[in-house]
Symmetry: C2
Subunit: 226 residues, 2 copies
Amino acid sequence: MAQPASGNGLGIDIEAIREYVQVQRRKHLAGQSICHAGQPFHAIYLVHAGSYKICELADDGREQISGFRMRGELIGVESIGLKAYASDVVALENSEAWELPYPAVLRACLHVPELQSHLTSALAAEIRCDRSWMLMLGTLAAERRVAAFLLDVAARYARLGYSAKHFILRMSRIDMASFLALKHETVSRALSHLHDMSYIDVQRREVRVLDVDGLRSMAGMSTALN
Amino acid sequence: MAQPASGNGLGIDIEAIREYVQVQRRKHLAGQSICHAGQPFHAIYLVHAGSYKICELADDGREQISGFRMRGELIGVESIGLKAYASDVVALENSEAWELPYPAVLRACLHVPELQSHLTSALAAEIRCDRSWMLMLGTLAAERRVAAFLLDVAARYARLGYSAKHFILRMSRIDMASFLALKHETVSRALSHLHDMSYIDVQRREVRVLDVDGLRSMAGMSTALN
DNA sequence: CGACGCGTTGAGCAGACTCAATCACAGTGG
DNA sequence: CCACTGTGATTGAGTCTGCTCAACGCGTCG
């Protein structure tokens, strides 16, 4: 049911909607934004390469990363129904996202009923993913959150066909910390400690997972499933 | 953009879909559940009276309240696309929710295109609401979270036509604490302190707001807007 | 090379937690 | 009617996790 979760598993079938939606390929250099909070909302995006971070902003300047997106995941869906985007989205590395103008997507839904239920399911999956992280952040201590985060990243790389045991973190410690509601020093210490306990091997952004079950038990996930 | 937020403002127009969807009124006594995580998903619900809490569950027994719902708000949308409900939903008092069988809702969307965009917007609003709380929980100290929570409750009562200055909290300190990722003693102390500072008057579950702007500035919300 | 951003590590502090006692209140049964 | 019980709320005292402040190392880039 719950599970680690992040992004939406269900990929939109691009080919099925090409007929109705004019898809634009948008490239972004590391640090460039897809959209800023407050800018007119006109499209959602499907990540095609690289990765992005989503940043929530408060009136008084507080801000927090609410998630990271990689290939096959949607961006901007939380702004549906609004006049303007609700958050900033920034490329973590040189990346590419496909722009799907939202009015066209809505029109396509009328012609392709499965698309409608796909979109709805994707939105619901996004909610479950957020809720799952709220649970993590609300109930796990710092080190356990970091363990859960690593497992999530690993699972997402695995889904894309990359190694779940050896990967490069695309985001800085500060971004990780912001997402996990911690300070970057705490994240750093947690990683060092996981290293000391031989759960992982970590050098800067390069991570090697040595003991998946160890990490899983820290993150409060049954080692049996998955 | 962000704002306090909770539930989805947009009420589904029941009359417009009565023709396609067989709506059942379901009453629940305090403590009774609408649904349990793992039970087959078949319907979403619209709260008609009373209030409910939504509870997320982890494999290892951890659990957390992820939100509260009152009149006009939807329940169960996060389970769309799944075979089974993702969370438990429990009535906080004697309440009533209208059951909308999901397959029928989907079918109705084909006949009433506005319903489709309404539903999508409602899901997106739910995501924004969750993100807004993630930001609160991730960036505000305990007392400020409690202040933000009170303002949110007040705003929701106001929207229903009740007083925003004097209301009864329907949930226990433990439920509030769970939602705010705190311990119930901390919530209790925070409320007492807000009382000491004359921002509120609180006796058990009865709350009187004495200084809205004071609370707003604590919660990091501009006092100008709204 | 020097500057800067990022990451790591240490020492001390403080906010939130834990444990525990007490109080208020509703429900129950003698 | 009141003692008894159980749950929820409040408050206190002491502890500890994660934060703050600060120094330092590494790597990149101008």
